[in-house]
Every structure is written in structure tokens, then in C-alpha cells.
């Protein structure tokens, strides 16, 4: 009987796959919502480099400020280019029709991107842009072939070219013109950005684990109490 239960549980834990397009393996990324400094750096990158095309339309500026410890003054000055009320949603000013004209596809909303795709996917995606003379805007991405998004971070990363794939399927690049960041700095920046996008996907995650731990401790106590209560009552039940 115990085995049966085990089989049932094991069978339940097989993840369903999203898209069939996962051709390249993904780079591991460490995300930690406890690291406020990282989240702040990620937020800055996001607002400066992504929000011009992508919205995060389910997120409010003031909520982000509160959660990440960014002052309202700072947000007003450096972040709210497109909005005027502190409680405004992080929408984008570019009209969708225009965006479609320019890129062929409207840039998708990024509020939930790490929940639609894995954080590892986003991190890998941001690292794998390369120069491609054949693409209309000059850029391509080895993880997302013929992507409509140009490499907006090339100033930071530099310009790289795809030289092939290694035996595990990871892409190999060759740096042609270095950017303002070293490769290590860029990876770290992308880790911050991914970290922020994870937060953006579920702000409640900041408190979810903490509350969960308290709830578990409380239930553990309750389990002990209820177990002994049951034992006490059942003392007088016997089997002949």
C-alpha cells in the first residue's frame, strides 16, 4: 500500500514542458529576493533599458519603490519617465501599432515573463545576443532565433559573434568590440536584472516564504498538541 502511494506521488511530480523550442541548454542563474541591492540595480537596468519598449503593466511604481527600498524622490526623478502619478502602473508609452510597424511584433509585457519562462531562460536570453549582418536590425539571439528585439544592452556587453556550439549544445561567442562592462560585470548585471524580473513576476514572493515558515512552525506545534489529544482520548479503546 505504501508503495502505491509512492508511485502515485512520483507520477504526479513530472513537470509538463512549455515550448518545444528549448533547443539550447540554459545557463544556471542564482536569484535571491533577499538581496535588496541586487534588486535595486536590476530595477534601474529595467527602467532604463527595457521599459521604453516593454511594459510591466500589472506593477505599480510606488509598490516597487516600497518593496525595494527606493525613495519616492528617486523614482520620480530617475524612473517615472512615462507616468505622473506615484501609484501609476508601469505601462509603456509606445503605441502597440507603432511597435508592430517597427519590430514586426509588439514587445510583450514583461510582468510575468519569469513565470511564463524560467528565470534561467531569461538570463540566458539576455547573454546570447550576437551581431548578425543578415538580420534587419543587425542582431540575433542564439536562444531565440531571428528575434525581433535588438540587443539594447550592447553598449554594456559589447558586440559578440556566434562561432558555433560546443559538444553540449552551448553557444560559443567571440567578442569583437568590448563593451563598458567586463564579461563578469555583465553577467552580474544580468543576474540582477533577472532577479528583479523574478520579483516583478510575483512581488508577494518577498513575504511568502517568511509567512510560510511561521505558519509551518505553528502547524508543527498544533500537530503535537492534536496528536496527544487524540492519544489521550483513545486510551480507552482496545481490540479484543
Amino acid at each position: 500500500m505504501k508503495k502505491l502511494i509512492l508511485i502515485l506521488i512520483l507520477a504526479a511530480v513530472s513537470p509538463s514542458s512549455l515550448a518545444a523550442e528549448a533547443t539550447e541548454p540554459l545557463d544556471p542563474v542564482y536569484t535571491n529576493l533577499g538581496n535588496k541591492a541586487s534588486l535595486q540595480r536590476g530595477a534601474k537596468l529595467f527602467v532604463n533599458y527595457c521599459l521604453s519598449c516593454h511594459s510591466a503593466a500589472y506593477m505599480r511604481y510606488n509598490r516597487m519603490g516600497r518593496d525595494l527600498g527606493i525613495s519616492q524622490g528617486n523614482i520620480d526623478e530617475h524612473m517615472m519617465f512615462a507616468a505622473d502619478k506615484p501609484g501609476a502602473l508601469m505601462t509603456v508609452s509606445m503605441p502597440e501599432v507603432k511597435a508592430k510597424q517597427w519590430f514586426g511584433t509588439a514587445p510583450p509585457d514583461l510582468s510575468l515573463i519569469t513565470r511564463v519562462r524560467k528565470p534561467e531562460w531569461v538570463y540566458s536570453y539576455l547573454r546570447r545576443f550576437y551581431f548578425d549582418a543578415e538580420s534587419p536590425h543587425g542582431w540575433n539571439n542564439s536562444l531565440f532565433e531571428n528575434v525581433a528585439m535588438p540587443h539594447v544592452l550592447y553598449e554594456l556587453q559589447g558586440v559578440q559573434r556566434l562561432t558555433g556550439h560546443d559538444e553540449h549544445g552551448y553557444p560559443r561567442f567571440e567578442m569583437q568590440a568590448p563593451g563598458t562592462m567586463t564579461p563578469e560585470e555583465y553577467d552580474e548585471a544580468m543576474q540582477d536584472l533577472t532577479n528583479f524580473l523574478v520579483y516583478l513576476g510575483e512581488p508577494a514572493k518577498l513575504e511568502r516564504y517568511k509567512i510560510g515558515t511561521i505558519v509551518m512552525l505553528f502547524l508543527a506545534g498544533l500537530l503535537v498538541l492534536s496528536y496527544f489529544l487524540k492519544k489521550e482520548y483513545w486510551r480507552d479503546i482496545h481490540y479484543s
Binding site: L4, S14, S17, A19, Y58, A204, R208, W234, Y239
Partner: protein, 456 residues
């Protein structure tokens, strides 16, 4: 206090009800692990209703804003995320609990005489519960919500002649749309929960009329003391109320651990594609229903042309079994006629239609269990190897079907066979569990049942 109680009792049977269903309801003293799930199912029903009420306060049943309103709940409503996770994961928890609750019936013969009505009401609850969760799943208006509903509703279209009209009538439109969302909302929050609550009430009333079965499958009412109390019975309250409390806490630990630490549960409880808003122009790479529907979905997809000869064989086999097990000429005549009708139908109608029929039968078969099972004993403890093997094969088939339903039918995924072949094999073994039951449950060499209950 007692004055007040007297006052009430003269006007309403409060003490009587309390005694009949709790303090003087004698339950067998040997309930084990499998007996927690009935009360847990009631707990989950309450959780779903309470969290559902709070979600309804903030949710917008409107195709334009439904998705955003769910994100609003997740971000802007105080504790909204918790309420929503409790409800979404509660749906999966409900099916875990109900599946285990039903499996208990198969283990200990709880569906057998005199508990047929308890079982039948349970089966109706199960069907209604599936409708409830199917409609609820459309409400967040994610891309999997949309395409899942699109695929399942279009199944009606496979029914000859009336199918297309029926599908349109269900949707209220030619495709899943705002009209569909609004009617599903009405059913999900009002109509179906009312029906469910009523059915659960009837389920309990029917159970308390005949009394609970137990892991030994023997009637405790056959052994009563001088006061007419079953010797192996103990009052539900306080004994089982304190015991169920332990079960409730253990359940809450598992359920809340998932809510707080793993709400997506590897994409099984919250599917990745449902974090994208519904998009009629963009089909998800694989349209998969939630995990608890995948066994039936698998049966649907497994029914292709190559399975049809087996389906015809199963029809013939059913008639043969009916002939072996009945001596009444009228029963034989009816079996032969119905069988012939199905057999001919298996040549006329398309495999797609038969997929829908088999999917329906896989659930209808549960309703027939009290009559298919003819064993002289109830509990698996006293059955022989045949029933044990059959049950193991059935559980295996169900799990494999569920697994295959989550994956693309054409991928080679398990050992030598393609996904769809596995699903076909398991569809057949699933059917055989029921079709052959009138034979093996009788042929099985059973052990004698004990006089009094044991605890193992």
C-alpha cells in the same frame, strides 16, 4: 445554557441531530489512513467556498479585464495572493483528496450493498466537481484556460448531428469568448457550489442511514451489545473528531507547504502558459488540461483508428461476460441487443466520436461498480490474488494514462513504446478492470472474514 438548549430543542431538533450524526453515531473503531479523506474533502470544500467568496469580490468576469483582475488580486489586494493560491491549489488538493477517498472504496468494498447510494451520490459529486473545476479554470483567462476550454468544448462537436449546435450552445458563441466566460463564472460561483453542497449533504445522510464500512469490510451492526450499540463501534464524537483533527493538521501542513513554498508545483498546479493572457491567435505548444483530467484526456487521444478493433473486441467481451453471469433470458436479450448496437456503431462512427464515448464510459463505469463487483467479501484483506492484481493493474493504468495525458502523444517517452501506444494499452486495461470484474471477483479465492474488526 441547558434552558436555552431546551428552548431550541422544542423548536428545532438540535440535540437530536447532534447525537444522531456525531455523539451517538457509532463508527467502526478500526478506521485507518484511508478514512481521513472524507472529512478532509469537506474541509477543502469549505476552504474553496470561503476563498472563492473573497476572490469574487475583486475578480472581473470580463474577457477584457479578467486576466488583469487576477494580477490585481495577486499584487494590490491585501492578502490577495494568499487567497488566490489557497483557492487555485485547493482545486488540485480537492482532487488529490477525492481520488484517495474513492480509492478507499475500491480497497474495502465501500460501494457494496448496502452503501450503493452513498457510492452513487459520491460518483455524482465527482462528476459535478469536474464540471466545477473545469469552469473555474477558464476564469483567470490565461492562454491555457482559453485553449483548454476551446478543446474540451469542441469535443461536443464530435457527437453526430447535434454536436456542433450543442457546442455552440454551451459556449454561447462560435468560439470561447466573453459570453462563455460570463456563463462559466455564474455556474462556477453560484450554481455548481450550491449543487455540490446539497449533494454532500445527501451523501452524508445516506451514509449515516446505513453506517460506515471499515477496513475489514464487515458489518459492525451484526454484533451489538445489550443497549443496541455495535460492539466494535465508538461514538464519532469525540473519538473520530479528535482523530480527524490530527488528519486535518497533517493535511494543512502539506497543503500550506505547497501554497507558501511551491505554489506552481512544477507547473502542475499552475501551468506556465496560464501566465500569458488568453490569445485566440496563439496556440500553446502543447494543450494540456490540469493533471487531474489527464487520464481521461489520454483515453480521448488514444482512441484512433488502430484502437477501434480493440474497442469492438471489448464490446463483444462485455456481452460474453453478461451472458456468463446472467441466467435470465430477458437480461441476455437486452445485453445482446445493446451489444449489437454498440458493435455496429463501432463501424459507423468515427474514432473521434468514440474517443468521447470511451472518455465518458471511463467515468460511467464507476457508477456501475456496486453491481460489477460480485465478490462474497468486501475488503481487499480477504480477497484473493485476482482482485489484488486487477486493482494494481487498474492503478497502474490510471497513473500511466495521467502521465501520458500531460505529454505530447507522439513523443517517444517511456521505454519502447510511443506515448500514444502506452495510452492505448492502458485504455484497454482500464476497461478490462471493469468489464472482467463480474468474473474475477467471483472466481477469486477469498479468505474467511473475521467476526470482529482488527486494526492493522
Amino acid at each position: 445554557m441547558s434552558k436555552f438548549l431546551e428552548w431550541v430543542d422544542r423548536r428545532f431538533p438540535l440535540t437530536k441531530t447532534w447525537n444522531e450524526h456525531l455523539a451517538e453515531y457509532y463508527a467502526p473503531k478500526n478506521f485507518n489512513f484511508w478514512y481521513y479523506f472524507g472529512s478532509l474533502a469537506m474541509l477543502v470544500l469549505v476552504i474553496q467556498i470561503v476563498t472563492g467568496i473573497f476572490l469574487t469580490m475583486h475578480y472581473n468576469p470580463d474577457a477584457e479585464t479578467a486576466f488583469a483582475s487576477v494580477e490585481y488580486i495577486m499584487r494590490d489586494v491585501p492578502w490577495g495572493w494568499l487567497i488566490r493560491y489557497l483557492h487555485a491549489i485547493g482545486g488540485s488538493a480537492f482532487f488529490v483528496v477525492v481520488y484517495l477517498h474513492m480509492f478507499r472504496g475500491l480497497l474495502y468494498g465501500s460501494h457494496r450493498e448496502p452503501r450503493e447510494l452513498v457510492w452513487l451520490l459520491g460518483c455524482v459529486i465527482f462528476v459535478v466537481l469536474m464540471a466545477e473545476s473545469f469552469m473555474g479554470y477558464l476564469l483567470p483567462w490565461g492562454n491555457m484556460s482559453f485553449w483548454g476550454a476551446q478543446v474540451i468544448i469542441s469535443l461536443f462537436g464530435a457527437i453526430p448531428f447535434v454536436g456542433e449546435g450543442l457546442a455552440e450552445w454551451v459556449r454561447g458563441d462560435f468560439v470561447v469568448s466573453d459570453a462563455t466566460l460570463k456563463r462559466f463564472f455564474a455556474f462556477h460561483v453560484a450554481a455548481v457550489p450550491l449543487i455540490l453542497a446539497g449533494l454532500v449533504y445527501l451523501h452524508i445522510v445516506a451514509l449515516h442511514r446505513v453506517g460506515s464500512n471499515n477496513p475489514d469490510g464487515i458489518e459492525i451492526k451484526k454484533n451489538k451489545d445489550a443497549d443496541g450499540v455495535p460492539k466494535d463501534g465508538i461514538p464519532f464524537h469525540p473519538y473520530y473528531s479528535v482523530k480527524d483533527l490530527v488528519g486535518v493538521v497533517v493535511f494543512l501542513i502539506i497543503y500550506l507547504a505547497i501554497v507558501f513554498f511551491l505554489p506552481e508545483f512544477f507547473g502542475l498546479f499552475l501551468e506556465k502558459d496560464n501566465f500569458l493572457p488568453a490569445d485566440p491567435l496563439q496556440t500553446p505548444a502543447d494543450i494540456v488540461p490540469l493533471w487531474y483530467f489527464t487520464p481521461y484526456y489520454s483515453i480521448l487521444r488514444a482512441t484512433t483508428e488502430s484502437l477501434m478493433w480493440f474497442v469492438r473486441g471489448l464490446i463483444v467481451l462485455s456481452v460474453v461476460v453478461a451472458f456468463v453471469r446472467t441466467s435470465k433470458p430477458t437480461a441476455k436479450g437486452i445485453a445482446a441487443l445493446v451489444g449489437a448496437g454498440f458493435f455496429i456503431g463501432a463501424f459507423i462512427f468515427t474514432p473521434k466520436f468514440w474517443g468521447v464515448v470511451l472518455m465518458g464510459f471511463s467515468i460511467v463505469a464507476l457508477f456501475l461498480l456496486p453491481w460489477l463487483d460480485q465478490s462474497p467479501v468486501r475488503s481487499i484483506r480477504y480477497r484473493g490474488w485476482m482482485y489484488k492484481t486487477a486493482l494494481a493493474v487498474f492503478v497502474f493504468s490510471f497513473v500511466i494514462l495521467g502521465y501520458m495525458g500531460m505529454h505530447n502523444p507522439d513523443h517517444v517517452s517511456l521505454f519502447i513504446f510511443k506515448n500514444v501506444v502506452w495510452a492505448q494499452i492502458c485504455t484497454i486495461t482500464y476497461a478490462l478492470f471493469f468489464i472482467l470484474m463480474p468474473l474475477y471477483s467471483v472466481w477469486d479465492r477469498t479468505k474467511p472474514e473475521p467476526e470482529r474488526v482488527n486494526f492493522k
